[in-house]
Symmetry: C2
Amino acid sequence: MAGVDQPGFKGRNSLMASELSYRRKPSSVSEMQQKKFSHLERKAYKRKLREEKLLAEMRKQKVIRKEKEEKERAEKEQRELKERCGRPYTVAIALPGSILDNAQSLELRAYLAGQVARAAAVFNIDEIVVFDENYNAKQDVTEFSGLKRSDRGNTQLFHILQYLECPQYLRKAFFPYHKDLVHAGLLNPLDIPHHLRETDVSDYREGVTLDKPVKSGKGAYANVGLKKDVVLNMSVPPGQRVTVKLAEQVTEKKNLNGVVVSPNEPRETAGLYWGYTVRLASSLSQVFKACPHPGGYDLTIGTSEKGKDVEQVDLPRFNHAIIVFGGLKGLEASVEADDKMQTDDPSEIFQHYVNVCPKQGSRTIRTEEALLIAMSTLSPKIKSAHTSTDNSKGQPS
Amino acid sequence: MAGVDQPGFKGRNSLMASELSYRRKPSSVSEMQQKKFSHLERKAYKRKLREEKLLAEMRKQKVIRKEKEEKERAEKEQRELKERCGRPYTVAIALPGSILDNAQSLELRAYLAGQVARAAAVFNIDEIVVFDENYNAKQDVTEFSGLKRSDRGNTQLFHILQYLECPQYLRKAFFPYHKDLVHAGLLNPLDIPHHLRETDVSDYREGVTLDKPVKSGKGAYANVGLKKDVVLNMSVPPGQRVTVKLAEQVTEKKNLNGVVVSPNEPRETAGLYWGYTVRLASSLSQVFKACPHPGGYDLTIGTSEKGKDVEQVDLPRFNHAIIVFGGLKGLEASVEADDKMQTDDPSEIFQHYVNVCPKQGSRTIRTEEALLIAMSTLSPKIKSAHTSTDNSKGQPS
């Protein structure tokens, strides 16, 4: 209270001025004029007015403070909601395309690629890296390879993975006939959130920009799998794949409006699984070197039956994780084949080198099986690394 | 010590007789004859002999006691080793054969069955039950089914599972040509411990009894995948599959000898995964009613995306567990189709009704994927239920 009174002592002149303004109010002036006041009475009256003004000021400050607190709390809640609903981190997997070369028929070869895509979809994988595990072996012309082209598996896996990730209504635009996709019609659909039917309602949709004349000042048209095309907020060359945030869904309007957003937005703001990107890496070391995230992968996990029991592994909080799988001969062979790797010991390359299936009944676990087994075990650990408030688990760098 | 002395008091006559035998020894007798002993001296000498004899007896007893203790300790160690190495419990899975009817080609139909067998092998499953999920629907003739025979999937899955479990060297004996097995050659091998090559060394081997004349008093011959046939310890009709414990592996002998044992023995005593049995069930309720174990399954787990998050489930110690998977329409449809079930709510039928993949990216998880995902999550829980010494987890009934 002393503090509130201080202005009166600090700047008396200014206070006097404000008192005068009070006195100038018609009611106060007339009140003053009507009565003859003594000097003491005038002084008391002035003090009373001053006190009232200060109290009013205090009340105003209190309301402002309260509003500010309210706003801050709302912002915090929003942030928390986004953190809870959105998913800031990404998980990638890497595997050699050579696993396809071991399939018994062309149909089963394609089916195997489909199994990889399904596993990625089930476990919300954001990026699949297909690496060449025979990087140096190919240069070694003395090795007998018959007529088999050892790099066919990589590109076919790459193509089928991309094809399956693409929403059905966009496939005609992006996938002309290709021999790699001959058996793609037999594969199981991924059925992921962005594979939307015409009647499905969604804030976001994947689309392709169309070669359709636009009015000046208006953006390009895009087909997002709805009856009507969407007018975008910017001009984009035709034939581009875009992620569109639909502004409104009023059906009476001639055109729908949409905003082009980052393909990461549905994941980051709404926690939606929005499919995966596919990348070809010429060797195992390129898996890490050509990482699309500026800081690289900050959590690397290798899987092998020679690794540590996964049950004993706790994962730290991370931004971008990658889980690497070996081929027929295991991850050891992939590491050995890569000259650029400083070591032949895979456990030195990865932060965690884990065995995802201790006590396996079969002598071998196939890569397509290992994908499901590993992700099933690692998923709860990934989740708990991001929900846990335990600081000892470390923060992402 | 008092106890050891007692024989002296109990049977004095017999003791005297033994003393006399001492005296009859030539050396003692000559000693006695050479010297003239007083009555007291003779008495003292006798006492000395008696004491020496008792001490000898005590030493003997001590050695026997020690040997007995040694033996008991060894037996206990053996028992503990068996408990540690052996696996007393079994894990079964049950799934509808109708999952095959959804495959896109005959080749992929067989491949799907192969995936089920592989998943069972990787996770040491002891029994696979193939149940008919359309038990009542089949009786409903008004339902449109086209030309599709809805029960074909069950028998084909049954056949392929049996075929893949059988060691390669026995397949000729047990699997003549059958249309269900046309594409079985394309399937991935299980590579489980009892699929032994000729050069592999193993205490146990699977075999088939042969139609070969035997000497009187000798058991039947069996082919166990070795160069030489094995003479069994009993006569078994030809063409039977037997589990043989090889008595010795001396290669010089004309014939090897073997003992017919229970197919459970390799698991129970050595903890070896010894393949699975396959059973057809005409409905979901028959999965439980026709259980081959006398007490039935004492742990039943149902899997569904409508179940409880598997991370929150702790399994009790059990003897015989069964994990049941649904088909295309989920376990709910299988329960509804079964009139014999008292309820339509699957969570009432199973002790645990779990969701093995919360936060799945794909709208659906296929049964063959669910097998790997579920077993990957449940395996550590099954293991810890049997290694944990925590009594609060409960004992098998």
